[in-house]
């Protein structure tokens, strides 16, 4: 399907208002969902909204496919004074990712939610989910620095609530949510201090306008301080290595579908915001930036890749293991970004998209295991390949993708990362990627070994059995698992997205790599 086909399908009103609707619709729907009495109805509202947003994201992606920019002025107040929603090749893929994951997770949700959450809270649960969904979309879509902060907090506040809802299963969800709240708020406040500095120096909050005004201020100390505050604040939100401590527990104890949704989208939206500031607002003329990329971002990326992977290799709780692996994977993305070249940025962006697919698949599979068997420990996985073969097979695809085996998306993004590292002359980075991949093989291998090489637990003299998982849950899981394979074999779509995004952010659309280079 070409972009023109997508636009031909869309009604004209949607084409004109998709930029505003995509963030406003879930916010309004969240209010409605909170008021309806039945959880089932709230779920339908949420799903319908997510589908609408996916349609908007599809239309917007088609509109910006040629490198165009869609600007939507809220309330008719023209930018730079009014709040502008600005969709361009850099954030359209993020919108597509968030909305597609939202639809898949919601399709999967009802059985899992019934199992894990008190019936009386279902409507509120879906309402909070919609608020989180709206917040993430807003972070990706907005072109205004302060609006970005507000949406960051909208998504974070609802995330704290959603994580805490895991308390029905394990009370540690409460302390996990509390710690996340403290650290998340510190991160957001650092971000807003940085925005304040930048505003004081440039007098504008519009990101495009700010980029123009910041250029002649490259040596201004206030701008440098603002930049540092913004990077640290967003670094907390993306779980950059030493600032990641909120993440493992939050992911381990949140309800299953929330973990799957957050792992695939939340850190991604914040990561996009980081890229927008690093490259959209400040360019390489800004002498502070290359120094920061090499000495801070690259160093932390490497530490994260190695240490978080090691921690994952010794984790006992399977969700905690995958959460620590997420911290390591953020390191891969940051390493690509730290190279500061268009190939490196594109590789990091590609890994962002691909990581959402693999972690989404893995956590959705875990949700099914939780529903049927209630397992949390890796040692519970013994013989699971025989007890639940269909779900476990999808888990294996996700796991191999995480390690980077061909023909999965994980392989593609690692090849591009390695190529970018060698092109930049960073042989050590290539070595680190290889070491981290081996560690990934170790921690994933423990699970696969237990699942396939060990006999299933005996119950009443016969191997344990589990009822077949509901189709509504296996469907979305396999969609993601097959996406891991499909885009691993034909990577042209995600690489084209990543390439356009990096080209757009660096203001150099021609410099690209691989099959995505051809328009």
């Amino acid at each position: 399907m070409t972009p023109a086909d997508v636009l031909a399908l869309a009604p004209p009103g949607l084409e004109r208002h998709a930029g505003g609707l995509i963030a406003a619709a879930p916010l309004v729907a969240a209010g409605v969902a909170a008021l309806v009495p039945a959880g089932r109805l709230a779920w339908m509202i949420a799903l319908a909204t997510a589908v609408l947003c996916l349609a908007c994201a599809g239309v917007l992606s088609a509109q910006v496919w040629d490198g165009a920019v869609v600007s939507y002025a809220f309330g008719g107040w023209a930018p730079p004074l009014g709040i502008e929603y600005r969709i361009d090749p850099a954030n359209a893929p993020i919108l597509l990712l968030i909305t597609a994951m939202g639809v898949l997770v919601l399709l999967y949700a009802p059985r899992s939610v019934e199992d894990e959450i008190d019936r009386r809270q279902h409507a509120l649960f879906y309402a909070a989910f919609l608020v989180c969904f709206a917040g993430l979309i807003g972070v990706a879509a907005t072109g205004d620095a302060f609006n970005l902060f507000v949406f960051l907090e909208i998504s974070s506040l609802s995330t704290y609530v959603l994580v805490a809802m895991g308390a029905a299963r394990d009370r540690r969800a409460l302390t996990a949510a509390y710690n996340y709240l403290i650290l998340g708020t510190i991160g957001a406040t650092f971000f807003v201090i940085g925005v304040g500095f930048l505003y004081a120096a440039t007098g504008t909050l519009n990101l495009v306008d700010m980029a123009e005004r910041v250029a002649p201020l490259a040596d201004n100390r206030m701008v440098k301080a603002g930049f540092a505050f913004v990077i640290i604040g967003l670094g907390l939100k993306i779980a950059m290595y030493p600032l990641h401590t909120w993440l493992p527990n939050a992911y381990a104890f949140a309800p299953s579908i929330i973990t799957a949704f957050l792992a695939a989208t939340a850190t991604k939206a914040a990561f996009y915001a980081l890229l927008r500031f690093m490259f959209g607002v400040f360019d390489s003329e800004f002498r502070f930036q290359p120094l920061m990329l090499v000495t801070v971002v690259a160093a932390l990326a490497v530490l994260g890749m190695i240490i978080a992977s090691l921690q994952a290799a010794f984790a006992v709780n399977i969700r905690r293991m995958l959460a620590l692996s997420s911290v390591a994977q953020v390191g891969y993305m940051l390493l690509g970004v730290a190279m500061g070249t268009s190939a490196g940025l594109a590789a990091g962006f590609l890994h962002l998209i691909n990581h959402a697919m693999m972690k989404g698949a893995l956590f959705l599979a875990l949700g099914i295991f939780t529903l049927r068997l209630g397992l949390t420990r890796i040692s519970d996985f013994t013989g699971l390949g025989r007890v639940m073969p269909v779900t476990m097979a999808a888990f294996v695809i996700g796991a191999l993708s995480l390690v980077g085996m061909p023909p999965t998306v994980g392989f593609v993004s690692k090849v591009f990362l390695l190529e970018a590292a060698l092109e930049r002359g960073w042989a050590w980075a290539a070595a680190v990627i290889a070491i981290a991949s081996i560690l990934a093989f170790v921690y994933v291998g423990r699970v696969l070994f237990a699942a396939y090489m060990q006999p299933p637990p005996m119950r009443d003299g016969a191997p344990a059995r589990a009822a077949a998982p509901p189709l509504a849950m296996v469907g979305p899981l396999w969609v993601l698992a097959l996406a891991n394979l499909y885009f691993g074999i034909d990577a042209s779509f995600p690489t084209a997205l990543a390439c356009r995004a990096s080209g757009f952010l660096l203001g150099d659309p021609s410099a690209c790599f691989g099959p995505g280079a051809a328009p």
């Binding site: 308390a167 509390y178 403290i182 708020t185 510190i186 909050l205 381990a252």
Partner: protein, 171 residues
């Protein structure tokens, strides 16, 4: 030097409050106190923004009737109003002082200096966000107290470690 510091007293207060708040967040073992520290930390940022918008000699940003009328009337509408609003605070501060001097020298060339309303409006939003954060945080503390019987970090940690030691559900 003293004048410099006095001129920047708002910013000094911002930094002191910010550090106090952060210190309480990290040093206190009581979950409610940590939330209080977090609030102080956030409030310090509100002060910073509000201080940014203040211009010495600036009026509240409300259109004033222009006695000189005519050609000067256009000067007070959104266009020229936006210009000082868009400038950085430090710069605008200077502009404010310069305009004050001009005010004394030549009454005819009087231009109304407005304080920048934008940071104040932003902070209204940020206050709402801060209140929501505090509310969610306190609600979580209530639930933690119900689940663990304490709001002290140490006790809660001990309870979690006991769970681990019992090996019922290690993490």
């Amino acid at each position: 030097m003293a004048a410099f510091i006095a001129g920047k007293s708002y910013y000094l207060a911002f930094v002191i409050l910010m550090m106090l708040g952060l210190y309480v967040v990290f040093a206190s073992g009581n979950m409610v106190k940590r939330l209080v520290g977090l609030s102080v930390f956030q409030t310090s940022v509100f002060l910073f923004y509000v201080a940014l918008g203040k211009i010495s000699g600036g009026q509240p940003p409300i259109l004033v009737d222009d006695a000189h009328g005519g050609s000067h009337g256009g000067g007070h509408d959104a266009e020229s109003h936006a210009a000082p609003a868009l400038r950085g605070a430090a710069e605008a501060d200077e502009a404010g002082r310069a305009a004050d001097a001009a005010h004394g020298a030549a009454h005819a060339a009087e231009a109304v200096i407005y304080s920048n309303p934008l940071p104040h409006v932003l902070i209204l939003t940020a206050i709402v966000v801060g209140v929501a954060t505090l509310a969610v945080g306190l609600a979580l503390v209530v639930r933690i107290r119900e689940a663990y019987g304490s709001i002290e970090d140490e006790d809660v940690e001990q309870a979690e470690n006991m769970m681990l030691a019992n090996a019922s559900d290690p993490s």
